[in-house]
Symmetry: C2
Subunit: 108 residues, 2 copies
Amino acid sequence: MLNDPSPLDRAFAALSDPVRRGMLARLSLGPASVSELAKPLPISLPAVMQHLRALETSGLVASQKKGRVRTVRLEGRALSEAESWLSRRRQEWEARLDRFEDHLSEIK
Amino acid sequence: MLNDPSPLDRAFAALSDPVRRGMLARLSLGPASVSELAKPLPISLPAVMQHLRALETSGLVASQKKGRVRTVRLEGRALSEAESWLSRRRQEWEARLDRFEDHLSEIK
DNA sequence: AGTAAAGTTAAGCCTTTGCTTAACTATATT
DNA sequence: AATATAGTTAAGCAAAGGCTTAACTTTACT
């Protein structure tokens, strides 16, 4: 990922870490503070911050600070875009399989 | 990713690279040889091999060698599993939004 | 005012990733 | 048999990733 990764690059990279996927799973149930996200994790707070930054620069998550607590929420948009990429590839792949089966039945 | 990444970890990691996503896009249209995959890419063959290995150990792709040409094909299964993970998260997220809107209309 | 709570930043360390070139193996072609 | 084709392995390097501890800032509580 040498030169300026695209949003999709970042989103999939963010998704590749189980800690971050865990955070997303938590956030899919509703917003949470940084410490709420950190609580179940066996890593230091600064490590959590870094994961959070990965999620945020990928667009999968957004946050705002009020007083001393930062509230993080899931961003459905980026999630959908990653999903769509996969969905398109799967659809092309299935379409090709269908054509292949048609071909088989023709020569039968 | 210190300890033995899960298949899902590997799949998303594989998807995070635009070169590999390009290969998958090509393969979604049908199988291809290593050199066919390499042709449009501005990188060396060994580099392509490494990308291929990332795709293969993630389960997104499988290959077999016949004579001197290795034919690579997409594996729909791994693709679907990544897609499903995202889909579940999006569904939970949407369900929560719906409950939230219901709540709003109740107090109105 | 003094202390606790919630984040944040910086520095350093080790591993993993993505790439290269060079050298090599195994099939096809002529 | 000689040469070309298709892929593979190995070594090495620079950058990115994931973690830590230490030090600091900004609110909130007593």
